[in-house]
């Protein structure tokens, strides 16, 4: 309670300082006051502009992130469990990992075009690695005692996988999912800034070229809210799924 009070007081003070500074010292095309940003955000919401762009962006980021999840989870488990897969597929992935995804944007555009495909592929590529690596680490860090328990009581490999491995990797899954969500968002912004005719990032670029600073601030704010919500959602999901331990994050 005390914390909430102090935090909100600080925020209120910061907002007030921004408002005053913006009104007294800066023109709107440099720093718009928060009240104007809020009004702009409201009108963008009501005239449908915001939703129209957000929809496109959300579709892209979901498609890319989902592709990454679907590929990274089984591959990570396989690489963690079977050495031959780790030594072949895993090593190849290790080779690709240092390539910064942002550097691949021009290449992706040449290969896959300006359409949705290149954007989704880049988001998927960038989000893939931390999920994959966390899955792999999760499988490799399964407590050997737990495996022994299963074996000694007459369980086979299938039961070891479904009753031990699947559970012990869950904290790693969520670490990977959360980290990747942040990466996916960064890539979303990047691909929309560079080669896009729609989406929230495109809206941001447009705002810049017309020096519509309130629009720009509104778009930045919405991106921030997206990241915040993604994290909140995944943290909530993690808490619901992993109920057997008070703290279990790797």
């Amino acid at each position: 309670m005390e914390r909430l009070l102090r935090t909100s007081a600080t925020f209120a003070l910061l907002l007030l300082a921004w408002e005053v500074a913006a009104r007294l010292f800066f023109p709107v095309y440099i720093l718009p006051p928060p009240s104007l940003v809020a009004r702009t955000l409201l009108s963008l919401t009501f005239d449908g502009t915001l939703w129209q762009n957000l929809q496109v962006s959300l579709m892209r980021v979901f498609a890319g992130y989902f592709t990454a999840v679907v590929l990274a989870i089984p591959l990570g488990i396989a690489a963690g469990w079977w050495k031959p897969i780790d030594h072949t597929v895993g090593s190849t992935l290790e080779l690709l990992r240092p390539l910064p995804a942002l550097a691949l944007i021009p290449l992706a555009i040449v290969w896959l075009g300006f359409g949705e495909l290149s954007k989704i592929a880049l988001i998927a590529y960038a989000s893939f690695f931390s999920i994959y690596l966390n899955m792999r680490a999760g499988v490799q860090n399964v407590d050997p005692t737990h495996v022994k328990v299963m074996l000694v009581y007459g369980n086979g490999t299938r039961d070891v996988l479904t009753k031990v491995v699947m559970y012990s990797i869950l904290p790693y899954v969520f670490t990977g999912l959360r980290y990747s969500a942040a990466v996916a968002l960064i890539l979303l912004v990047a691909v929309e800034l560079v080669g896009s005719q729609s989406g929230l990032g495109f809206f941001l670029v447009q705002a810049q070229s017309f020096l519509q600073m309130p629009n720009m601030f509104a778009a930045i704010l919405v991106f921030g809210v997206l990241g915040f919500c993604a994290n909140l959602l995944l943290a909530g999901l993690e808490k619901r799924v992993i109920r057997w331990r008070p703290e279990s994050r790797p």
């Binding site: 005692t145 737990h146 022994k148 328990v149 299963m150 074996l151 000694v152 009581y153 007459g154 369980n155 039961d159 009753k163 031990v164 559970y167 012990s168 992993i242 109920r243 057997w244 331990r245 008070p246």
Partner: protein
């Protein structure tokens, strides 16, 4: 469990027999060498030795978790058997699966035997009661104290009703008082059965209190040094601990392992992870 005729033939052929057993780990460390021991059906054998003497390794081989590099272990006529329902195992830190509740943890062996969910629950409920864990069946392991967790570990082993129980320093991680209580609970539970127990510990008191026979191991590499029959009367109760022979046996055993124990704390630790 066995008739008299079988019991006498079992005396000729022990239930568990180690023949010149040797285990060398891939790193090159030899944990045990020339390990010979015969355990009769219904016997409570405690393997006693200082830390690092390879006593846990012996147990892992009997359990079928580890292949011997030389020699063999024969369990009920089977040479180097894989893990099976005829042997229950109690782990040092209980070894409960943290994501399953107590019931489900106890049922791990029962379900692997192909028992239905419902039948397994009936059995686990009985053992939850037997171990004084009524009302805790739906809790997760982390919600229980160390002593209660190990009760679950013991219940899980007894639940599959195996003729052989293997116990790997099951009480070593518990506080001293809980430890005494669980020893008494175990002996009460066991004295009503005809199970064979191989129990590994480095506690002399524990060995004397529980065993029919204490096997003392030498270390580096581990082998049987000597073996002492514990003739203390059964049933063993808290009074056993003040029996005149108790202290005498304790001192004899301590005399046997003292030098090895001293060496264990003054040398670099090269043993396998236990």
């Amino acid at each position: 469990m066995e008739s008299d005729a079988q019991a006498s033939s079992a005396a000729a052929r022990p239930l568990v027999e180690f023949c010149d057993l040797g285990v060398t780990y891939p790193g090159g460390i030899t944990a045990i060498r020339h390990f010979n021991l015969a355990v009769a059906a219904g016997e409570f054998v405690v393997i006693l030795g200082p830390s690092g003497c390879g006593k846990s390794t012996v147990l892992q081989v009997v359990a079928g978790l580890l292949e011997p590099t030389s020699g063999r272990v024969v369990v009920a006529g089977q040479i180097n058997p894989p893990p099976g329902k005829d042997r229950g195992f109690v782990f040092q830190h209980a070894g409960l699966l943290p994501w399953f509740d107590i019931f489900t943890n106890i049922e791990i062996g029962l379900r692997a035997k192909g028992m239905s969910r419902k039948a397994a629950r009936t059995v686990s409920q009985r053992y939850v009661s037997a171990m004084g864990l009524d009302g805790f069946g739906h809790l997760y392991p982390h919600q229980l104290s160390g002593g209660m967790q190990q009760r679950v570990g013991v219940a899980r082993a007894f639940a599959i009703d195996p003729p052989i129980l293997l116990m790997d320093e099951p009480f070593a991680a518990l506080d001293a008082q809980t430890r005494l209580l669980l020893q008494e609970e175990l002996i009460r539970l066991w004295e009503g059965t005809s199970k064979t127990i191989i129990f590994v510990t480095h506690s002399i008191e524990e060995a004397v209190f529980l065993a029919d026979r204490v096997v003392v191991m030498a270390r580096a590499p581990g082998s049987v040094k000597s073996s002492i029959d514990i003739t203390l009367p059964r049933p063993r109760t808290e009074e056993t601990r003040s029996h005149p022979q108790y202290l005498q046996l304790f001192n004899t055993l301590w005399g046997m392992i003292r030098r090895d124990a001293q060496r264990a704390i003054s040398e670099p630790d090269l043993r396998e992870a236990t």
